[in-house]
Amino acid sequence: MNGFMTILRRDLHLAIRQSIDSMTVVMFFVLVVIIFPFGVGPEPNILARIASGVIWVAALLASTLSLERLFQIDYEDGSLELLSLSSVALEVIVLAKVTAHWLTTGLPLIIIAPLLAILLNMNKEGFLVLILALVVGTPSLSLIGAVGAALILGARRGGVLLALIILPLYLPVLIFGVSAVDAIMNGFEAKAQLLILGAFLLAALPLCTWAATTSIKQAIE
């Protein structure tokens, strides 16, 4: 547990010193959402209809953007090697780094999402469910993304490859995240979708940690 906190604190520290990196992700998220009304026209009903989908897709893209650096920088400067040699289990190190990634990129997106929802004329019943779905869903995105980030270690032009690997894997989270909001807007309950998102998170927690750890070990060799 101490090792987890030490690495989490260090990664948060690094993220704050390089806050421009997290800011870029949030700005990208905001821009993608803002661009949509220009493309599909300012018709309020249409915007309200697509609001949750647009916000989720933008969140997926923004998350992909930031993941490339999750392990790459530590890999290049030799830190990952030394981390793997420490007495802290590599699984714990991966979890700490994923947690730091979510806190510095996932959490800001959740905070700013309601503002963008207003911009897209989303009904206010949808807000709470949108936030809940993002809270349960975005950690899964960080976990799945960690597998991709570990797989691209050592590859040139890893960023595009990363998107190709993980965007298809994001689909289940996207489907249930959007349908949770749609259900509420159409007068149904969203409990089932939120529970499924929770189940994804519980499954991703051990599986993605294991997969990312294994591919990091491969990359270090």
Binding site: G3, M5, I7, L14, Q18, E76, D77, E81, E221
Partner: protein, 218 residues
């Protein structure tokens, strides 16, 4: 007393056999110097010793215990200095060193030990300087300060003198002597001369595969 040993190590990298049939025994307080031309496997052998690489065949032991059975335990008792210095450009010298120290100690960095390590290598005055302003030699010194700041019985140093000036090499030699006097072991690969008392030498050129490699000739 601790003994670090290996039997019949074979290392294969990218389909090429780098060295075969390598044995060594290192006792507490011992020093092992790896020499050999470029590509003869000095770095690979150090990575095998650290557990970063798996041998194609052969066994590495710490006392009676195989290191492959407890890689985390093995990692906890060694300090490895590789080709990269693992310095974060946005963290100060002191923050860089104390992060690794606290990871090694399980949560608590010791400020005094960090500063003492920096002073030993003559970079105490750079304590607050961010990593991005350091020269190559200063980065290497910060990396070496990392291993001085927390005790570990086994030091694996891959060309530690790269970019160091003569004065710092002397400080490093003194630090190694002190480490060995306390029962520590050191394995070091080097091209430049280092003054180490009572050391064993492995010349890796002597362990290269002698059989002609037909598949490569084709």
């Amino acid at each position: 007393m601790n003994i670090f040993s290996a039997e019949n190590l074979i290392c294969v990298r990218g389909g090429r056999t780098v060295f075969t049939g390598l044995d060594f025994t290192l006792k507490a307080g011992g020093a092992l110097v790896l020499v050999g031309p470029n590509g003869s496997g000095k770095s690979s052998l150090l990575r095998l010793m650290a557990g970063l690489l798996k041998p194609a065949s052969g066994i590495l032991r710490w006392g009676a215990e195989k290191i492959s059975e407890d890689p985390e335990g093995h990692g906890g008792r060694l300090h490895y200095v590789g080709h990269h210095d693992a310095i974060k450009p946005v963290l100060s010298v002191e923050e860089n060193v104390s992060f690794w120290a606290s990871l090694m100690n399980g949560g608590s960095g010791d400020g005094k030990a960090t500063l003492a390590a920096l002073n030993t290598l003559g970079i105490g005055h750079l304590e607050k300087i961010p990593g991005r302003f350091l020269s190559a030699g200063q980065k290497r010194r910060v990396n070496l300060a990392r291993i001085l700041s927390t005790p570990a019985p086994l030091w694996l140093l891959d060309e530690p003198t790269t970019a160091l000036d003569r004065e710092t090499i002397t400080s490093l030699e003194t630090a190694i002597t002190r480490h060995r006097a306390g029962g520590g072991m050191v394995v070091i690969s080097t091209h430049s001369d280092m003054q180490l008392a009572r050391h064993q030498v492995i010349d890796l050129a002597g362990f290269a595969e002698t059989r002609p490699m037909l598949e490569h000739a084709l």
